[in-house]
C-alpha cells in the first residue's frame, strides 16, 4: 500500500515552494489522493484572499497528474452557469463524458461565492454533482465560508488560514530585492546576506506600521514593500549608511511610515467614477445657491427652518455665528446620531424653493429659470429624486447627493456662509 501513497518528495517540494502551507497541502493530499484512493464528492477550500488557495490547488493537481477541469465562475456567472436548469444539463453531459473514464475527475470551481446570480439551489446542485457522478469530485474555492452553503451534510473543508507576521515575512524573504548600490562590484554571498537582513527588518517595520492595520494579504503587503523599498535603501546605496545600523536608518525615514500615500493606492479600491465627482462643477450662480438650499433642506430638520431662515428673526444666526462646525462628540448614554452622519433626508420641492429664496442675498432676477436649473442639477445627479412618484407630482421628494466638502466649496465660491445655517 505504501507505493500508492503520494511520494513524500512531492510534498517536500510543494512545501518548499509554498512556505507555511504544510498542513493545508497535507490535507489536500489526503483528500485528493491518488487514483486508487477514494475522494469525497465535494471539497471546500476556504480562506481570505491571497492565502494561496488557487495556486496551491493548481500546482498540486498538476504535480499529481490528476485530471481536472477548472472553471472560474466569477465571470461566467451571468451566463449559462447561472441558471440552475442548466446544472441539470451539465450533470447529464458530465456523466456522459465521464462514463467511460476510469480515473477520478475533479471539477474545480473557483470563487463560486462571487457568482452574480448564485442562488442557494445552484450551489446545492453543484455540490450534489459529485454524489450523482461517482468518479467526480467538485472542489469549491471560497473566500468567505458560508455555513450550509451546499445544504448537504458536511463536506470536508480545508481552511487556508491568513498568514501571520512571521509567515508573511518568511514568504517575502523569497523575493529579496537588491539594494541598488552605486559602485557595483562583485555581488558576493555576504552582500546577499546583508540584503536579506535589511529586507527582513524592513518588512517587519512595514508590517507593524502599515500592513498590519490595512493590508493583511500577502499580495498587498508585497506591493507596499515594493513601493517603499527603493527610497528606503537609497542612503545605503549611496553609502551614507551601513547595512547594520537599521535603527538610525529607520529614524531617518520615520516619516515614510507615518504617511498613508503608499497604502492608499494599494488598499483603496478604485471607485467607479467616485473620484471624478469631487471635482467641482462650474455651475451657474443660482444653481450654486439651489444646491446649498438643497443641502440645508436635506440635513436640517424642517422644524428648525423658522429659526434659521425667518428674515425678521435673527436669533438663529447670531447664536450660530462663530460656532464650530466640526463634529463634536458627546458621550452620553444612548446618544443621538449626528444628522450629517445619517445621510441626506428627503424634502419636498417647496421647501427647497423656500430656503432658496431665504438664503439669496438679493432679489432674484426675473429672467432666471429656477425649474430648469433644478432639472439640470438632477441630471448632474447632484439632486436625486427620493420618492417613486412622478416628477411633476406635488408630493415628490428630493434629496441632495453631494457631500459636505463639496457643498462648502460651492458655498464659498458664491460667498455664502453655509456654516451659519447648518443645524448642529
Amino acid at each position: 500500500m505504501t507505493d500508492e501513497m503520494l511520494p513524500t518528495e512531492l510534498l517536500t517540494t510543494m512545501n518548499e515552494q509554498f512556505p507555511c502551507r504544510a498542513p493545508q497541502i497535507r490535507r489536500l493530499a489526503a483528500l485528493v489522493g491518488t487514483d486508487e484512493t477514494p475522494s469525497p464528492p465535494a471539497i471546500v477550500l476556504h480562506g481570505l484572499e491571497a492565502t494561496g488557495k488557487t495556486t496551491i490547488l493548481r500546482t498540486f493537481m498538476d504535480s499529481v497528474n490528476a485530471s481536472y477541469t477548472a472553471g472560474v465562475t466569477e465571470n461566467v456567472g451571468g451566463g449559462d452557469a447561472g441558471r440552475a436548469g442548466d446544472v441539470c444539463a451539465l450533470g447529464v453531459r458530465l456523466s456522459g463524458v465521464l462514463s467511460g473514464v476510469e480515473r477520478k475527475h475533479f471539477l474545480v470551481l473557483d470563487r463560486v461565492d462571487r457568482t452574480r446570480e448564485g442562488s442557494s439551489v445552484l450551489f446545492a446542485a453543484l455540490g450534489r454533482l459529485g454524489e450523482m457522478i461517482p468518479i467526480l469530485t467538485v472542489i469549491f474555492i471560497l473566500s468567505v465560508p458560508k455555513p450550509r452553503l451546499l445544504s448537504s451534510a458536511e463536506p470536508p473543508h480545508i481552511h487556508f488560514a491568513p498568514y501571520t507576521k512571521e509567515e508573511s515575512i518568511k514568504i517575502l524573504s523569497k523575493y529579496v530585492r537588491r539594494i541598488p548600490f552605486q559602485d557595483i562590484e562583485e555581488y558576493t554571498q555576504k552582500d546577499a546576506k546583508e540584503e536579506l537582513y535589511v529586507w527582513q527588518k524592513f518588512c517587519g517595520t512595514v508590517w507593524d506600521s502599515l500592513a498590519k492595520g490595512t493590508a493583511r494579504g500577502v499580495v498587498q503587503f508585497r506591493a507596499i514593500v515594493d513601493e517603499m523599498w527603493e527610497p528606503f535603501v537609497k542612503p545605503i546605496a549611496e553609502g551614507e549608511y551601513g547595512t547594520r545600523n537599521y535603527s538610525s536608518l529607520y529614524l531617518l525615514h520615520k516619516d515614510m511610515f507615518r504617511r498613508e500615500t503608499n497604502v492608499i493606492d494599494v488598499v483603496v479600491p478604485v471607485g467607479a467614477g467616485e473620484k471624478a465627482v469631487t471635482k467641482i462643477h462650474d455651475l451657474p450662480y443660482y444653481s450654486k445657491f439651489l444646491l446649498c438650499a438643497a443641502y440645508l433642506a436635506s440635513y436640517n430638520p424642517a422644524r428648525q427652518d423658522a429659526v434659521f431662515f425667518m428674515k425678521n428673526n435673527d436669533f438663529g444666526r447670531k447664536k450660530r455665528r462663530g460656532g464650530t462646525t466640526g463634529s463634536t462628540k458627546r458621550t452620553a448614554k444612548n446618544r443621538k446620531i449626528h444628522r450629517r452622519l445619517l445621510g441626506p433626508q428627503a424634502f419636498p420641492l417647496e421647501r427647497l424653493q423656500a430656503i432658496f429664496a431665504a438664503i439669496l442675498p438679493h432679489r432674484m432676477s426675473s429672467s432666471a429659470d429656477i425649474q430648469t436649473q433644478i432639472a439640470t442639477l438632477t441630471s448632474l445627479r447632484l439632486l436625486t429624486k427620493a420618492s417613486a412618484t412622478d416628477v411633476l407630482e406635488a408630493g415628490a421628494k428630493w434629496r441632495v447627493n453631494a457631500g459636505w466638502d463639496y457643498i462648502r466649496h460651492v458655498a464659498r465660491s458664491v460667498k455664502f456662509d453655509i456654516e451659519d445655517f447648518v443645524a448642529e
Binding site: 500500500m1 440552475a84 436548469g85 450523482m132 458536511e154 488560514a161 462628540k329 457631500g403
Partner: protein, 413 residues
C-alpha cells in the same frame, strides 16, 4: 410515500439499498427515475429529465420524443409508452383503457419507480403540476408507478396543494438520528471497521495474514472506543453537536490516510482537532481581518447598541471609530507604538467596503444596487455580527494575536 429525516440519517442510502435489493430480485421488471429538487428546478426540466432517463433505459430513439404540447399529455404519452411499447402512438383515451387491463397479462408492462429527492423543492414549483400528475396516475392505476420522496422538512405535507394532498397516500416513514451515544457509535463503527463476511466474499484467497490484519484493525477500533479518553470525548462532541456520522467520518479521513503506512502495526490515531471541520460561523474570518477592518467592525457593532438602530453607514462608523481611537492614539504615541493608529477616511472606506465584500455587512436597503442613489459613504448597512460575539472571539484569542486590547471596546459602551 415519503421518507422524512434530517441530513445524514441515511434516507438515500435506505432507498438505494432497497432498490438494489429489488433489482436483484426482479431484474428487468422495473425502471427507476431519479429526480432531485436541486437539479430539476421546474417541472419542464423535470419532465425532460424523466424522458431522458426513461429513454436511456429503454433505448428509445430521439425522434420518439413527443412534441412539446401540454404537460399532462406529455406525461401520459410517456406512461403510455411504458405500458405498451407495441402501441406507441396510442391516443390518450385508448391508452387509458388498455392500461386498465390486467398488467400481468401483458408481459411488456414495466413498473416505474420515481425517486424525488429534496421533495419539498418540488412542492414549490408553480401549481405542483408534476406532483399532481404523478400522484394522480399512481392513485388511479393508469400505469404501475410508485413515487417516493425524500425530504428533510417535517411539514412537507402541509405545503402540498389540496388536490395534490388528497391524492397523496399519506404514507410517511420518519428516519431519526440515533437516540443514544451507543447507537451513534454503532453507525460510526460500521463505517470504520472491516466487515469480515464481505472480505471473505470479495477476496477469494484471503490469506490468514490478511485476516489477522483486519481483525487486529477491528479490535483496535473497538479498543479506541472503550479505552481511549480522547477518542471518546471527540465522539461525544460530534454526537452533541450534530449527531451526523458524516462529520465523524470527515474527521477520520486525515488520521486514516496518515496511518495507512503503519497499518499492520495497529494504527493509533488521535483525533485531537477536527481539521476538516466546517467553520462554525462567519466569525472565523475575524482572524484574517486587518486591525483597521476589525476596529471599524467593532465601531459599527457598537453603534447598534449606542444609538439603538440596526443600520448604520460609513460616516457613522467612521466617527465612532475616530472617537474610539483618538484617546488611544495619544497614549500610544507617547509609548512609541503605532497600535491605535488613526487611518484617514479613504483608507477606512476601502476597509469598510472590504467588510461588505466579506458579508460582515449586508446592505440594509432592499434592492440596493445603486444604494438608492446615495453616495458610498451614506449607504446604509446592517452589521451581521453582534458586539458580544466579537468580544468573545477576541477574548478567546480566536481573532488573531495581540488583539485582546480591542476587547475592551466591545464591553464598555
Amino acid at each position: 410515500m415519503l421518507i422524512i429525516g434530517a441530513r445524514g440519517t441515511g434516507k438515500t442510502t435506505l432507498l438505494e439499498s432497497a432498490i438494489s435489493d429489488l433489482t436483484e430480485e426482479h431484474k428487468g421488471e422495473f425502471l427507476t427515475v431519479r429526480l432531485n429538487g436541486f437539479f430539476q428546478t421546474d417541472d419542464k426540466i423535470a419532465l425532460r429529465e424523466i424522458w431522458r432517463q426513461l429513454g436511456v433505459e429503454m433505448e428509445l430513439d430521439e425522434r420518439d420524443q413527443p412534441k412539446t404540447t401540454n404537460f399532462a399529455d406529455t406525461l401520459s404519452s410517456i406512461l403510455a409508452i411504458l405500458s405498451h411499447p407495441d402501441e406507441l402512438r396510442a391516443p390518450d383515451g385508448e391508452g387509458e383503457e388498455l392500461a386498465e387491463e390486467d398488467p400481468s397479462s401483458t408481459t411488456t408492462t414495466l413498473s416505474v419507480i420515481f425517486i424525488l429527492e429534496e421533495f419539498d423543492l418540488f412542492a414549490t414549483h408553480p401549481r405542483q403540476t408534476l406532483l399532481y400528475n404523478l400522484f394522480d396516475i399512481a392513485q388511479s392505476r393508469k400505469a404501475p408507478i410508485a413515487a417516493i420522496g425524500t425530504t428533510t422538512r417535517i411539514d412537507v405535507v402541509e405545503s402540498l396543494e389540496k388536490r395534490v394532498k388528497s391524492r397523496f397516500s399519506h404514507r410517511t416513514v420518519h428516519l431519526k438520528n440515533p437516540p443514544t451515544l451507543k447507537g451513534f457509535w454503532e453507525i460510526c463503527k460500521g463505517g470504520l471497521s472491516v466487515d469480515m463476511d464481505e472480505v471473505d466474499a470479495e477476496i477469494n484467497g484471503s490469506s490468514d495474514e490478511d485476516r489477522r490484519c483486519f481483525e487486529a484493525w477491528n479490535t483496535h477500533i473497538e479498543n479506541l472506543y472503550k479505552s481511549d479518553k480522547q477518542f471518546q470525548r471527540h465522539l461525544r462532541r460530534i454526537y452533541a453537536q450534530n449527531k451526523d456520522p458524516k462529520s465523524f467520518f470527515n474527521s477520520c479521513i486525515l488520521p486514516l490516510s496518515d496511518s495507512v503506512t503503519s497499518f499492520p502495526m495497529g494504527p493509533s490515531f488521535s483525533l485531537s482537532a477536527n481539521q476538516l471541520d466546517e467553520p462554525d460561523s462567519i466569525l472565523s474570518i475575524l482572524d484574517g481581518l486587518t486591525d483597521l477592518e476589525l476596529t471599524l467592525l467593532i465601531a459599527a457593532a457598537r453603534l447598534d447598541i449606542i444609538s439603538d438602530t440596526d443600520t448604520c453607514n460609513f460616516q457613522m462608523a467612521y466617527s465612532e471609530y475616530t472617537a474610539l481611537t483618538s484617546p488611544l492614539k495619544v497614549a500610544s504615541s507617547a509609548a512609541g507604538v503605532t497600535a491605535g493608529r488613526l487611518w484617514s477616511k479613504e483608507v477606512a472606506l476601502g476597509a469598510w467596503e472590504r467588510l461588505a465584500e466579506y458579508e460582515l455587512l449586508v446592505p440594509a436597503v432592499i434592492g440596493g444596487g445603486s444604494g438608492g442613489g446615495v453616495s458610498r459613504e451614506g449607504r446604509m448597512w446592517r452589521v451581521e455580527v453582534g458586539l458580544a460575539e466579537i468580544g468573545k472571539c477576541l477574548e478567546m484569542g480566536r481573532a488573531g494575536i495581540g488583539r485582546a486590547g480591542l476587547g475592551k471596546w466591545c464591553k464598555e459602551v
